[in-house]
Amino acid sequence: MKTGISVFVATLVALGASWCGFVLLPLLQFGGAKQTVVLQSTDTWPVQRTGAATLGLQAYRANGCVACHTEQVRQTGVACELTLTSLGVQKPADFKDFTRSLFVLPELAAYTNALTASLNGWNGGLPQTLLTSADKDLIAEMADRLKAVGVKSETRIVSTGADVARGWGPRQSVAVDYLYDQPVQLGSLRAGPDLANIGVRSPDANWQLQHLYAPKSVVANSTMPSFKFLFEVRKIVAAPSSDALNLPKEFAAADGFEVVPTPEAKQLVAYLLSLKANMPLYEAPFTPVTAAK
């Protein structure tokens, strides 16, 4: 083969270039990622998992959960939400008139409908969301105008997008969220809901165990297969185990028997409960609702 050397060199260059692009460059860009700080706080993020939850990641992987579930919340936009917190000396009716007087401003032209809608349905209760817009400068200007007439308001940063609207998380997932995942279980198919915040959305371990054993017993139209093999159905010898599942009649084991989770099931649930990506980070800012009270 006369061209052997050329073929070898060309192959090496082609594979080397893709290795650089897919492995080396991402490693240079994200390889140095380390714990970061939660916005407006001294807490670090992400939190190192407990032993059981670390083992649970392997159970998650072994049972192929990643085939039907993702662990990534997507965000398509960001918006500022202007919320009235105090009217000062103004009456709600005066305030409505004042806001309508602002409608002549050209920059507000696109928002008059939204403003009218939020004012019409308002009976004077506080706090009241006045306007939501991606235009930060407009919101800041509105806040200034309100301040000038003695009305106090608060500007919140909120994420927008279908995933956020479904309640799957308050912000998008970012690289640092997966710092302690080995391997990362991103997933690409959503036959089931996203699990990036399942530890926040369903924090009850017993609910999680029952859902793994008999999904339809807690979610009537669930299409998730039952993971019965992670549980042991055994005869009650002296007294029922404190770990035994408290199942509805049609899903329960026969009389004199009980359903007890195996260590693997408990680890898997520990991992699921550790899935929380609800802290505001520098790279994914938002204003938490609970802290704003």
Partner: protein, 198 residues
């Protein structure tokens, strides 16, 4: 014609193959290397912290929440952990022999705020009763050196954390109380504290 020497013609200029000067080649290679290094160093202006929908670092910076109740609480938590938490504990449960609990304390969780502001501004020494337990300790005027806004933030934090649900304290409240008690206040005694109106 006569003036020119016969039989001698000036040579035509001709192009020959010759190498480019070595310094140009070396300088080009060095510049290419430096350019490549710079591009790589900045990852082609890729920023690992910027994700869509944010266009660039400036855009992301503009959306960082900077004010509001959440910011005040976070500020209060920072000040608390640095100044108060050493004795009162990061969980607000206090430490035996050092400081009483703030969680569930009637001195913290009350409607009025002037007495609560008075304590860190002036200090407190002597016997008091907090949540049914008796304490006889000295607290220095830990808050006297704090700016009004910081003291207000930390008081707001302790009044809304660990199960406490009292109203927030503003910087103006602190300023008012600071003005009332003067520049060099005496520490409050225990009975004085307990009998002072909220």
């Amino acid at each position: 014609m006569n003036g020119e020497p016969q039989g001698v013609t000036s040579a035509e200029p001709i192009a020959t193959r010759s190498a480019a000067p070595m310094w140009i080649i070396v300088a080009t290679l060095v510049l290419l290397f430096l350019g490549g290094y710079y591009f790589d160093r900045h990852s082609g202006w890729f920023d690992a912290r910027v994700y869509a929908p944010y266009a660039n670092a400036e855009n992301l910076e503009a959306f960082q929440p900077k004010s509001g109740a959440a910011a005040a609480l976070a500020r209060g938590k920072n000040v608390y952990n640095g100044v108060c938490g050493i004795c009162h504990g990061p969980d607000g449960l206090g430490k035996p022999g050092q400081a009483p609990a703030l969680a569930g304390s009637e001195l913290v969780n009350c409607k009025g705020i002037s007495r609560l502001i008075h304590i860190p501004l002036a200090g407190l020494s002597g016997p008091i009763t907090v949540a049914g337990k008796d304490w006889n300790l000295n607290m220095a005027a830990m808050g006297a050196a704090l700016p009004d806004e910081d003291l207000a933030a930390v008081l707001t934090y302790i009044r809304s954390s660990w199960g406490n649900t009292a109203s927030p304290v503003t910087g103006d409240d602190v300023k008012k109380t600071r003005g009332q008690i003067g520049a060099n206040p005496q520490p409050m005694s225990g009975p004085q504290t307990m009998s002072q109106p909220e």
